[in-house]
Amino acid sequence: MYILALDTALTACSVAVLNLETDSVVAGDSVFMERGHAEALVPMVEQVLRDARLHFSDFDRIAVTVGPGSFTGLRVGISAARGFALVAGKPAVGVTTLAALATPFLAFDDSLPVLAAIDARHGHVFMQMFGTGGRTLIAPRIASTKEAARAAAMGGVRLVGSGAGLVADAWPPGEQAPVSCETLAAPDIAWIARLGAAADPATAEPKPLYLRPPDAKPQDRARIARV
């Protein structure tokens, strides 16, 4: 039982093969990358498969991060995952970057809530809050750092993600400060594989989670009046 995991949603290009029986990474690679995922991802998969001495037919499924993150980046990963899945005849499953960031903390200790926050630029973060057993306390959304901090300001919160520091800086005065703040740029690819293994292919579709509408407005300018 093997799972292939891909992540190009944030500032990394990561690939790993996880052996589910032993819960070990058979082969993998991860490179910090702000752009260039479209060139790097598929050759990286080729190399990781060579290192793992595995073929696509050996995988039970393919896991991929669906966002939130860079629109272009997450489409690179999803396009590749769906392409691999189509040829291999195996399901592709989507994992959110927010869950992948928070889960290692929850796996270690789920008694304290975790706020995953990804820098969405212009003073905003993509955020999701997790509680006991990984239960969602605040559903994935985009919010200003101030709103995110206000919503998350409850006892003993742990912050994780590229937006963790931004949220901590906006913490409301007088509220109990976060117990930890991990400014991680991208999730651990092994955890993406584990979450992908646990996901239900019927609901965890490999579809983008943008959390932001496309920048477009209907146009009615420049029309000449008609009778």
């Binding site: 060139e39 050759p43 392409g83 496309p214 029309r223 009046a225």
Partner: protein, 353 residues
């Protein structure tokens, strides 16, 4: 030698398309399956293609479109000789989706990848549909491009003329928009023109008679606007007459520019073209096709226009261009970059007119 079987993927603008095409060692080809999923509905409220909306739509449906093309062809990925995708030019978000998918298919199926120039695919389609031999004169007219090219061989294109401002299809779309015709505007202007009087308005014929075979559409579009503003509010007859007069002007200009292009072609190729090939979405316009038929006869050649479904963006043309390249041993690596801009003739500079 067996036929080459190539899957082609097209995502450079607002059509998500995939097709399987066969190419015999003789050079003859045929389309085995051709699936196009248009995004017209998604872009309609915006009166034009919105790049981010296009990219979002491509990633949602591309694998389904490919699976359908393979199902209709009745083959598996291991039966393919190669996998081709348009790697540009076009809207980069969509190109990334198509090219990345093709790379994944190529790696998983262990088949060569062919990164196809979208314009080259338009340029070579007439060899699939009409078996045209090199060298030929190509009029490439779409919403994004207006060029005259000498097509000398696969991978060898010389640009003879281009537009200084708007593309022909763009001018059609802009006229449609100002007249409140539904999107996409080109076919709407054409059908309005059928009912209108092409002689009611004497619109300009920009660059008519010039030696350099370049185009200019912007002034014509402005002339339509000025006339429409003067008449407003417009009756249905006004709209039909404006469309008919506009289209008549475009037809005259295109035919004149093609005649100039044919003279240039002889100068650089040392012989006449084997055919006048019309490619791109505007090639689906009947009035333009009919007028160009006459022009081809005047310049002593025949006309070859792919059927409308292969003039507008489609996967079959990408698959065919991929097969033509594969037959010459031209393949690409998995590291190849998607390209927003990718001229067919990199040596060509701006319009000379």
């Amino acid at each position: 030698m067996a036929d080459l079987l190539v899957l082609g993927i097209e995502t450079t603008c607002d059509e998500t398309a995939a097709a399987v095409v066969a190419r015999a060692p003789s050079g003859a080809g045929h389309v085995i399956s051709n699936v196009v999923r248009s995004q017209v509905e998604e872009h309609s409220p915006y009166g034009g293609v919105v790049p981010e909306i296009a990219a979002r739509a491509h990633v949602e449906v591309l694998d389904i479109v490919i699976a359908e093309a393979m199902r209709q062809a009745g083959i598996g990925f291991s039966d393919l000789s190669g996998i081709a995708a348009a790697a540009g030019p076009g809207l980069i978000g969509g190109v990334i989706v198509g090219l990345t998918t093709a790379k994944a298919l190529a790696l998983a199926a262990d088949r060569p990848l062919i990164a196809v120039n979208h314009l080259e695919a338009h340029a070579l389609t007439a060899r699939l549909t009409d078996g045209v031999a090199f060298p030929y004169l190509l009029l490439l007219v779409s919403g994004g491009h207006t060029q005259l090219l000498a097509v000398e061989d696969v991978g060898r294109y010389r640009r003879i003329g281009t537009t200084i401002d708007d593309a022909v299809g763009e001018a059609f779309d802009k006229v449609a928009k100002m007249l409140s015709l539904p999107y996409p505007g080109g076919p709407e202007v054409e059908s309005q023109a059928l009912r209108g009087d092409p002689e009611r308005f004497a619109f300009p014929r920009p660059l008519f008679g010039r030696r350099e075979p370049d185009f200019s559409l912007s002034g014509l579009k402005t002339a339509v606007r000025v006339e429409a503003d003067r008449l407003a509010p417009l009756t249905d007859t006004d709209v039909a007459d404006l469309c008919a007069s506009f289209q008549a002007s475009v037809v005259d200009v295109i035919c004149d520019r093609v005649r100039a292009g044919a003279r240039q072609f002889r100068d650089i190729a040392g012989c006449g073209p084997t055919a006048l090939v019309v490619a791109g979405g505007v090639g689906a316009n009947i009035a333009i096709r009919l007028a160009l038929q006459k022009t081809a006869a005047e310049i002593g050649t025949r006309i070859a226009v792919p059927p409308p479904a292969l003039c507008t963006d489609n996967g079959a043309m990408i698959a065919w261009a991929g097969a033509e390249r594969l037959a010459r041993g031209l393949t690409d690596t998995l590291t190849i970059s998607p390209r927003a801009r990718w001229p067919l003739d990199p040596s060509a500079t701006g319009a000379k007119a």
